[in-house]
Amino acid sequence: MARTKGYPAPLEEKLKDTRLYSDEENPQFTKTVEKISMTIPHMCYQCGTCTASCPSAPRSSYRIRKFVRRALLGLEMEALNDPDLWLCTTCYSCTDRCPRDIAPTDVIMAMRNLAFKRDIVPVNFLKTVTAIYSSGHGVPNNDVNRAAREKLGLPRDPPTTHGYPEFIKGIQYILDYYELKKNADRIIKEREG
């Protein structure tokens, strides 16, 4: 029976064949992940304490242990194309319990960074970026809340970038420095038209 996870077709094919081929391995991937994550996935002995501690594991096919294995074997495309990569809530339970002192959560974060470089990223992450670019806030103020704030004796807009919008320029400078807004707009447009 067909899986309904919605994996990309090449990954679907790959997962049917569980053998490991040397041309699928990219040793540089292991090194890059270790550099970005500042942790040591190559020390993993696959005990599975991470998956057992994971709040996402019981309700999905996401297995943190599998991602750490992929980091170790250099299975770059298999890791980055797997939609489960985005199901980590970053709760750090695996990190606190890992007997090998690895931070699997940070391995996931590093892989997400590398996925973004290839435009692999869910749109909701990019929408947070565009909200912050325009207002400085990921969750901006609204009129109902302004009225409530006034009743509490607080200024209608908090003393953040909302109350001092002149500070937004600095935020836009940082995001433009990394061309993040440009890339976010481009990817959102490609996905949503």
């Binding site: 990019l126 947070t128 969750v139 937004i168 993040l180």
Partner: protein, 296 residues
């Protein structure tokens, strides 16, 4: 009086302004003055930004830290997500020259420099610290004890985990917030899976809302079994996930809990005699009325 730059974040001022209001007033009664941190932005959201590019996350958080450095004040904040960004980036940049140089290269363009001259604290940890405030002082400030109520604590993730980078001790069964709940006259209640994530973090709430709510629902089931009158937390994002999340759980799963969810500062405000109106409890998705009837 201890003075701190009050880093607000997004969800407290823009969705639960009662928490902001309560923080100013309760802290002041306990000898902590919270000053405006003008021009602060989103921390930025560690799940969303950290997933896209950690370097951008460092630079954006550093901008907020520099604002406090310019005030020459340590930061106090009331959100675990903000703590992850602001505390952790401060810590990393202080101890990693390569990262700090990279960040300062960017900040140069807006005439800023990260110097590493301040520290970052969660307001809850300041309340608990006997050198700043302490449980006894909290107990002495109570005028409306929450006697006869059963309250569960949700610690959230990013305040105390990962434990080897933090300084809070055990992350398997902590009890320090329970001590602060007991100080208000309420009965702190243990429940199954207390340290389980709320389900919102890491961008999962936006990526797969049903998956995210299913984690929340698992906690709600455990809380219902423990027969609690309210849930308290120290993170507005967890608060949003439990409070608005209960409405979404009702829509998507057809299960109703109606469990009031209050930030610890709101709870402390009530115990210090603030009215529900002064705490804007009417903005909560789940009515706090059944809980208030037991207290007031």
């Amino acid at each position: 009086m201890h003075e701190y730059a009050f880093y607000l974040g997004c969800i407290a001022p823009n969705r639960y302004p009662g928490s902001e209001s309560a923080s100013y007033r309760t802290a002041e009664k306990l000898g902590i003055k919270l000053l405006d941190l003008k021009g602060a932005s989103c921390c930025p959201a560690p799940g969303a930004f950290g997933s896209i590019d950690l370097n951008i996350w460092y630079a954006m958080a550093a901008r907020n830290l520099v604002l406090a450095e310019q005030m020459k004040k340590d930061i106090a904040l009331i959100c675990n997500g903000c703590y992850k960004s602001i505390w952790e980036v401060n810590h990393k940049l202080k101890h990693n020259d390569e990262l700090r140089d990279g960040v300062n290269e960017v900040l140069k363009g807006i005439d800023m420099e990260f110097k590493g001259t301040i520290d970052v604290f969660h307001l809850a940890e300041l309340f608990y610290d006997p050198e700043i405030c302490g449980v006894k002082k909290i107990r002495d400030s109570v005028t409306v004890p929450l006697t006869g109520t059963r309250i569960a604590v949700h610690y959230g993730c990013h305040l105390m985990k990962p434990k080897k980078e933090r300084h809070f001790g055990t992350t398997e069964a902590p009890t320090w917030i329970e001590e602060m709940v007991a100080a208000l006259g309420a009965e702190p209640v243990e429940y199954r899976n207390k340290m389980l994530c709320c389900g919102a973090g890491g961008g999962v709430r936006g990526y797969d809302i049903v998956h995210s709510l299913d984690i929340t629902n698992e906690k709600m089931i455990a809380l219902q079994e423990a027969k609690v009158d309210a849930l308290t937390e120290v993170c507005p994002f967890c608060q949003l996930q439990f409070d608005r999340g209960q409405i979404e759980i009702q829509e998507k799963f057809g299960v109703t809990y109606n469990l009031p969810v209050l930030h610890y500062c709101e709870l402390l405000g009530l115990a210090q005699g603030m009215s529900p109106q002064e705490l804007a409890l009417d903005l909560h998705g789940i009515s706090c009325e059944p809980f208030l009837q037991k207290v007031l």
